[in-house]
């Protein structure tokens, strides 16, 4: 299998606080990795480092050719970024920004770009929201718009940070099935969640993080591991 991302001995301190310690793992093509762990375990920090939002980490991160060439990491941030209901932007305007990574110079959109926006909206079943103002949409709809923005440039890997924490269970399930479909179409997915129960049906691998890696492997192995016993000991009391 082809590795999308290889991480070796990644360390990150926030002041004197050790946030990530000796993190080493590989992301293979087609993986669907659930990154789980308690609050403050460094999940968000880890993906922010991968996304280049946090720069002064120590260690090695290697992206494969595809990601480097096409600058193609799709990113879906934690819940709706905008709490500003007045923000004047239509769904189309927001989704199109996902294409800017491919553009140089003045970065104007072409007709072709707008048809790619249409195709992505269609795929996620939100073509009817195209000209709606983002602030007037429900939480689930907004999250799909942000997924569309991440997907519009056809990235080979998608990184999501607690994308469903603000959603109802039903809408959350819908959102996860869309991700599953994308994964079946060969998009590699890394999904951060604090709630393993809601993602266990979908993911193929689990990365259990608590400042260092407690467990990394297939979901099946995880179910029979010590890490899991500890995890469920804390979370469900079983």
């Amino acid at each position: 299998m082809n590795n999308m991302i290889t991480i070796r001995n990644l360390n990150f301190n926030y002041g004197k606080n050790e946030v990530l310690k000796n993190i080493s793992f590989e992301v293979a093509e087609g993986d669907y990795i659930g990154i789980v762990g308690p609050n403050g375990s460094g999940k968000t920090t880890l993906i922010k480092i991968l996304l280049g939002l946090i720069k002064n980490s120590k260690g090695q991160i290697k992206f494969n050719h595809d990601i480097l060439e096409k600058n193609s990491i799709g990113y879906v941030p934690q819940k709706g970024v905008m709490n500003d209901r007045l923000f004047p932007a239509t769904v189309k305007e927001i989704v199109a920004t996902g294409l800017l990574s491919e553009k140089t110079g003045f970065k104007f959109y072409s007709k072709d770009d707008y048809s790619r926006v249409d195709i992505t909206l269609n795929k996620l079943n939100i073509e009817n929201l195209k000209d709606k103002k983002i602030g007037n949409l429900s939480g689930g709809q907004q999250q799909r718009v942000l997924l569309a923005r991440a997907m519009v440039a056809n990235p080979s890997i998608l990184i999501l940070d607690e994308p469903t924490s603000a959603l109802d269970p039903e809408i959350r399930e819908e959102f996860y099935s869309i991700l599953k479909e994308l994964n079946e179409e060969d998009v590699t997915i890394m999904l951060v969640s604090h709630d393993i129960a809601s993602i266990e049906k979908y993911v193929s691998k689990i990365l259990y993080l608590d400042k260092k890696i407690i467990f990394y492997g297939s979901y099946n192995d995880f179910r029979h591991s010590k890490a899991m016993a500890k995890y469920f000991g804390i979370y469900t009391g079983e």
Partner: protein, 275 residues
């Protein structure tokens, strides 16, 4: 009524009114183009802060007997960088950095004016605007610089939009948000200095903020907002120039009051619609 029409006709025949309308409208468009980014990035006060800075720079220009426009633009741009740097390096919150720089600049301005007596009347015209007495050089400079601001905003529109909506995402897809913030600062500095001619240092921030906030009451998309706010802004300037000419009011203050009235009207339209 006939009287008013004949006065408007008369006004339209005088060069200074036409010049005022041309320069005022261009600056109004600059203000609308930038206002949306400043308001939505929660940088509204930067316009106000830089206007205070320009009070000092104009005092310096008058002291040295140089053109206020030419002296002010680089100094105001420099101050805007200082504000950004203070934000980045000194762990200051956005508006604290603005307050530091702007109050310091006003103090410098006041010191200069009191030491060098004699240009108080001149300075007053810069405090509250004097678009009806604008020199040829200022007209030409204003037209060129407004065009520069408008075109640069148009060229970088998509990147500016992405950064305003979600700076983190914009960074992930490879946009340089830091550079874009500097670009916004430069353009705002130029616009603030140009706007001093129209409404004065005390009132320029209202030209940047009012039309955008008014447009936000009714707009849906980003481009609509810019379009609506430009229309409001230009109409306020033109209407303000005529009203002040006919009734002998100060032009700058009249323009701002028209803007305020527009805001109230749109605000109530929005409230009625959402009920």
């Amino acid at each position: 009524m006939e009287n008013v029409i004949s006065m408007i006709m008369e006004a339209l025949q005088s060069d200074f009114i036409l010049r005022a309308i041309l320069v005022g409208s261009l600056i109004a468009i600059c203000c609308s183009f930038l206002g949306i980014f400043l308001v939505l990035k929660k940088y509204s006060m930067i316009g106000d802060g830089l206007a205070h800075v320009s009070f000092a720079t104009i005092a310096i220009a008058l002291l040295l007997n140089k053109s206020p426009l030419v002296v002010s633009i680089p100094l105001v741009i420099f101050s805007s960088f200082l504000i950004l740097k203070l934000n980045e390096k000194a762990d200051l919150h956005g508006d604290a950095a603005i307050a530091l720089i702007s109050s310091f600049a006003v103090a410098v301005g006041v010191l200069i004016t009191s030491v060098a007596k004699g240009f108080n009347i001149d300075l007053f015209s810069y405090l509250f605007g004097s678009i009806l007495v604008i020199s040829k050089l200022d007209v030409i400079l204003s037209i060129i610089l407004s065009a520069v601001v408008i075109f640069i905003t148009l060229f970088f529109y998509n990147s500016l939009f992405a950064i305003t909506y979600d700076e983190e995402f914009a960074t992930v897809i490879g946009l340089n948000s830091k550079n874009m913030n500097y670009l916004i600062s430069i353009l705002t500095s130029i616009t603030v200095v140009l706007g001093i001619r129209v409404v004065g240092t005390m009132l320029i921030s209202s030209m940047i903020i009012f039309p955008t906030v008014t447009a936000l009451q009714v707009s849906k998309g980003f481009k609509d907002t810019i379009l609506i706010s430009s229309i409001i802004s230009v109409s306020s300037v033109i209407l303000g120039i005529f009203i002040s000419y006919i009734l002998n009011f100060p032009t700058g203050a009249t323009i701002v009051i028209i803007n305020a009235i527009c805001f109230m009207v749109f605000f109530f339209i929005n409230k009625l619609k959402s009920n």
